[in-house]
Amino acid sequence: MDIFVQQLVNSLSVASVTILIGIGITLIFGLAGIVNFAHGEFLMVGGMATWFMVGAGMNFFVALVFAGLLVGALGFAAERCLFRFTLNRPMNGFIMSIGLSVILQHAVIRVFNEFQKSITDPVGLVWTIGGVDIIAMRAIVVAITAVIVAITYFGISRSRYGMALRASVSDRDTAELMGIPVRRYVTGVFIYGSLLAGIGGALMISLFPITPFTGSVIIIRGFAVSLIGGLGNVGGAVVGGLVLGLVDGLSAGYGYPEWTDAYSLVVMILILVLRPQGLLGGTLGPKAS
């Protein structure tokens, strides 16, 4: 029983980072209409920046904020210099983002090196409750993710900005005629999604070492989460992340462990076949105009 409960606890923390990157993708892909395959590299850059700042003596939680801002600025630059020119041709943007991901990987190798980077656990505590080990930093990651989810959810569903954004996704031309600065909103969403990737990278390196290639692995899960939940749907990304986290945790614990990745991707395929709009429904994603 202890082992089973431990697996459920593990699943929750597995889900957290995935949810964070999933939200970033679901906003950029589902609301801004940009397929950014370099989003995983944005996360990696956030992790590397955190590693660098913590190594220079900065407190982890301060470094986390700086990493978010840095990657947010990177997102701003990428959107203004690259993706804004592909808004009407999403496939061009997609291919461009693949190139950007390779460039970012090798830029990081050039600046630092190819080896994995890690930091000392910022908290370093393990709580044992009823035979179940709860790693304090993982609990903090879950808590930070929950706060970000809440802020994002209310920002999208309740604020004026969120309503205007959803209106521009439904009908861009009408939204523009109503005076909504759609292009500026797209930029804003891209920056916010990138900022979440930066924070996700910082949280990730507090749990696991990262390499310049970490992003290319996690991006698949990020897209899976956003599609399972429903593109552009923050609640959907949370549900998608939890589904994948539970499948990962329980299949690793009780199934064939070497197939762990396959289980979660099979679940994704099944959901997309049975509910193409995702579990909670969402936008249809980017479309060429």
């Binding site: 431990q6 656990d121 396959a262």
Partner: protein, 410 residues
Amino acid sequence: MRQLGLGLTMAAAGLVMALQTARADEELPIGVIAAQSGSFVSAGNTIVGAANLAAQQINDAGGIKVGDKTYKIKLYIRDNRTDVNVSIAAARELVNDIGVKAIWGTETHDFSVSMAKITGPAKVLQFSGNSSLGAVLDDKAIADDGWLHYTFQSEPQEWQRSGSTAKGVLSLLTPQLKSPPKHSVVFVGNDATGQYLSSHYVKALEAEGQKVDLVQYPPDTTDFSPLLTRIKGMKPDIVHFWYNGDSTLTAFPQALKLGVAPSYFLFGVDPGIYQERSLKADVPVTLSCVPVCWGSSPFPEVKQYFDKYFGLGAAKGPQSSVSLLYYDYFFWYAKALEKVGTIDDPDAVVAELLKSDYKGVVSPVPLVFNKHHQVTFATEVCMVEPNTSDQFKCAVEQPPGAPPPGDNGG
């Protein structure tokens, strides 16, 4: 007029001498194919680092004297981008367009085998540090007309490395545990190399009296906690993190936090990295290097080697010691060329390599190739004192004389 004639004669003599000097320093083209980008870059860069150091040392020492000519090594380094197709294309270019006499690389079994299908027919020697080549280097393949006649495996056979590692780990850990360890879990990435290597290591542990469970994880896993929780439920005496040093460095701290086992073994994690990362465990931990450690060098020659290797700018990583699977063979190859007296008779060079030995850095015992073109040398295994990051006790374990029961050696 006589002075003019004398001057012309002297000028002509000078020109002839200059030409002779230029001819004396001829170029020996050698190819290096390694991952300088992509996911195998940390292993690939060690091949390039070893090649650069060896070529520089040989050239600085005057080059290779073959017959009446002196050759300086000219390296042609190609990035395989961790892609088998790029490796094949690079091998074709080096063999067909550049005309290299030998190729060093590459870091993975599949890529090396693919390259051998190009180097073999062209009679270009290939030195590859993949123990998994043992699966294909048989009597037929290495025969005079065999497809691997010109390929040499510069890493010991896997049953040898597994045998010496298992023996070293158990002999270091047993005195540290309350009772002799009986149950081991081998934790390994589920890729072609992981499957091959672990198949031998499981047999080696069984030969040492261990009950062994094998748990495989998908490559690129970062969160190992569900799998480690599963292993904790098996109540092992030792968890052996096998094969991939980078994955091990990710999984091991998670295992410590979850209290998975009373002792651990980390394959391919150098004591230098353990110290650099400030890793610390309250239980005994053993480490092994491929093949000897830079963080705790067993011999003065090895320490000097790593000082020079890192002095050339190579990064200190968990796989830096892999460079020693490539370095010595440049000198051995040069020695064989000098003995044969020509760089254009690869069959004679192969024969010379097979009948000669070479006292390199990697081993205090001279290296020799067996009839299947494979070398043998020992493995270094270290134990970290509990609650320290820098207190190591190391031993160099010799390989067993024969494969364990159930292991056909290939």
